[in-house]
């Protein structure tokens, strides 16, 4: 049966398909149009309603606070969409066109050695963190050891050339900051990979059910994988963008000043701020540089934590790897990133 151009079966267990009761409105067959309300009909109804009530909706959103919220929300989405789409395309390429044996040959056989190699591989992939989540998901599906895929997930948005260059521009005359950022991010990614080898359990990772790939032609499988990942990661990206916009509008800047004076509070404040602001890793250096009340170590923590874990990343990780994974991995990453940044900061800055 299995012709050479067919997609081989997945090697990793995936989640059971959700029961029909859990699944959003759907019907047994796409062609059984009579008698039931399907998601196409619901979508059409929503679209008609929104267009009809467009004027009152726009008026309701014209208060300055809400308008700023909408602008920031749309901005985060607009900025993330190209990176999301290219990440999804690359992950579909990995899922469909790159044989699993390629990764077996490219990565050292021993998982503990595969971790640093995978995080160093992040250097060559310029992009934001939104793209790296689906790529890491595709790597796990392709049989890459999760520890290495997670190290890649953490390292690639933080230490790629574009991000390091923008850090150098944001901190003129302080090349130490670039070195500290690269070093601390790399160390955190490796440490998290090794921690996963020690403590992680594969059953925490619950890759969403993606039934259609096995037995499809390659182009059909490619588009199915891409559509699937956009719907998953994109939906959660919207959630993260809404959270980031809310924080952006609600938290007044005055609060920051008083917190920056205490060195310990300063590090914690900027680490939390990196999580809630969810700024793209290519821009966070400029924001960090503008937080002049804080110590260099606190700024380093901001730069190391932000690309590894923030609200939109947490939402996307829950979408791609499952909630049980995200609720364990995200806090561990947060703590590890702070500890490593403080150590690197004390030694280097």
């Amino acid at each position: 049966m299995a012709a050479p151009d067919r997609i081989e079966q997945r090697e990793l267990p995936v989640a059971d398909p959700p029961s029909p009761a859990v699944d959003a409105p759907s019907r047994p067959s796409p062609r059984g149009l009579r008698g039931r309300v399907g998601s196409v009909e619901i979508l059409a109804a929503v679209l008609v309603l929104v267009v009809v009530f467009r004027a009152p909706l726009s008026r309701a959103l014209s208060a300055p606070g809400l308008q700023t919220w909408t602008t920031v929300f749309v901005s985060v989405m607009t900025q993330a969409v190209p990176f999301l789409v290219f990440g999804v395309v690359l992950s579909a390429v990995i899922a469909v066109f790159v044989p699993a044996s390629f990764f077996a040959r490219a990565l050292p056989r021993h998982p503990a050695l595969a971790v640093p190699v995978a995080s160093a591989a992040g250097v060559v992939l310029p992009g934001c963190e939104c793209g790296s989540v689906p790529i890491a998901g595709a790597l796990v599906r392709r049989g890459v050891t999760p520890a290495a895929a997670l190290a890649f997930l953490l390292a690639s948005p933080a230490i790629n050339p574009i991000v390091l260059a923008s850090t150098a521009v944001a901190f003129p005359g302080q090349p130490k900051m670039v070195v500290a950022r690269a070093l601390a991010s790399m160390l955190t990614a490796c440490a998290m990979g090794w921690l996963w080898l020690k403590l992680g359990k594969t059953e925490w990772i619950k890759l969403p059910h993606r039934p259609e790939l096995a037995g499809m032609s390659k182009p059909a499988a490619f588009w199915a994988a891409a559509r699937h990942d956009v719907m998953h990661a994109g939906g959660y990206l919207v959630l993260g963008a809404m959270a980031a916009a809310t924080i952006n509008v609600l938290v007044p800047q005055q609060w920051m000043r008083s917190l920056g004076e205490n060195p310990v509070l300063g590090v914690l404040t900027l680490a939390v701020l990196a999580v809630v602001l969810s700024i793209c890793s290519e821009a966070d250096a400029f924001v960090a540089a503008s937080l002049r009340e804080f110590s260099m170590t606190a700024k380093l923590a901001f730069l190391v934590v932000g690309p590894m874990i923030d609200l939109k990343l947490f939402a996307m990780q829950s979408g791609i790897f499952g909630r049980r994974f995200a609720t364990r991995f995200a806090p561990a990453t947060f703590v590890m990133a702070i500890v490593v940044s403080v150590l690197v900061g004390v030694v280097l800055l």
Binding site: P28, V51, S58, T71, A224, G235, A289
Partner: protein, 235 residues
């Protein structure tokens, strides 16, 4: 959500991205450099939608054969229609005085001040003027007449400032640069009014009450109300 509905959502998202990047609308949210990537991403989303519909209506031998026609996409995917509505129906404006009045001026230390370009008055950015005024103490400005464009922000005491948001990536990281207006300034300046201000360097400076950073002043010679530019952010 079944695959047909997913295709429609993909088409809407791709269409909205294309619509905003093929016009100047995207400049309210992100930088100009992102445009080719936005166009490519929007086109890819539209193609993905069309391919989904193509495989769907061709009745390809996918998992339909096993008895389910819907794929299990999470309900969270429905949220993807929100940015479409926000972009196409609400089209929020670029960040203005509300955001600028809530954040402190965000000058970055610079030490290199090339001579001002030719022109009288010479048009420079609000950021350039503020940097030269604060960190070079006006030396490279001298007695030259400069022309700045920005929008009006009111301070806590009601005094008008000329402001411009600077952007690195997207409006989520936008930070204001503020310049105070000294001399003959109309009293009825409304927030978010765009101005073209001509003036000279003055030593007057204040501290931004939000973050304690220095806000320089400009001695106003001439002040015109102008239309908002296409690209409202500086970088």
């Amino acid at each position: 959500m079944n695959r047909q509905a997913q295709a429609v959502v993909l088409l809407l998202v791709g269409g909205a991205v294309l619509r905003s990047s093929l016009t100047d609308m995207y400049l309210r949210y992100v930088k100009q450099g992102l445009r080719p990537f936005l166009i490519a991403a929007g086109a890819l989303l539209v193609i993905a939608a069309l391919m989904t519909l193509w495989y769907e209506f061709r009745g390809s031998k996918t998992d339909d054969d096993h008895g389910h026609g819907h794929s299990h996409e999470p309900r969270v995917a429905w949220l993807l229609i929100l940015p479409v509505f926000a972009l196409l129906l609400v089209s929020p404006p670029a960040l203005g005085s509300y955001a600028a009045s809530r954040a402190g001026t965000a000058l970055q230390q610079v030490s290199d001040f090339p001579p001002l370009p030719q022109g009288d008055p010479v048009q420079i950015s609000v950021l350039d003027y503020a940097s030269r005024a604060v960190f070079d103490e006006g030396r490279s400005l001298g007695d030259r007449k400069v022309q700045l464009r920005g929008f009006v922000v009111k301070g806590a005491d009601g005094a008008p400032y000329l402001a411009r948001m600077i952007l690195t990536c997207c409006a989520a990281d936008a930070r204001p640069i503020k310049v105070g207006l000294a001399g003959q300034v109309p009293a009825d300046l409304k927030p978010d009014t765009w101005l073209e201000v001509t003036g000279r360097y003055t030593e007057k400076k204040v501290k931004d009450e939000i973050n304690g950073e220095t806000i320089p002043y400009l001695e106003v010679v001439d002040l015109q109300r102008v239309a908002a530019p296409n690209e409202q952010y500086e970088s």
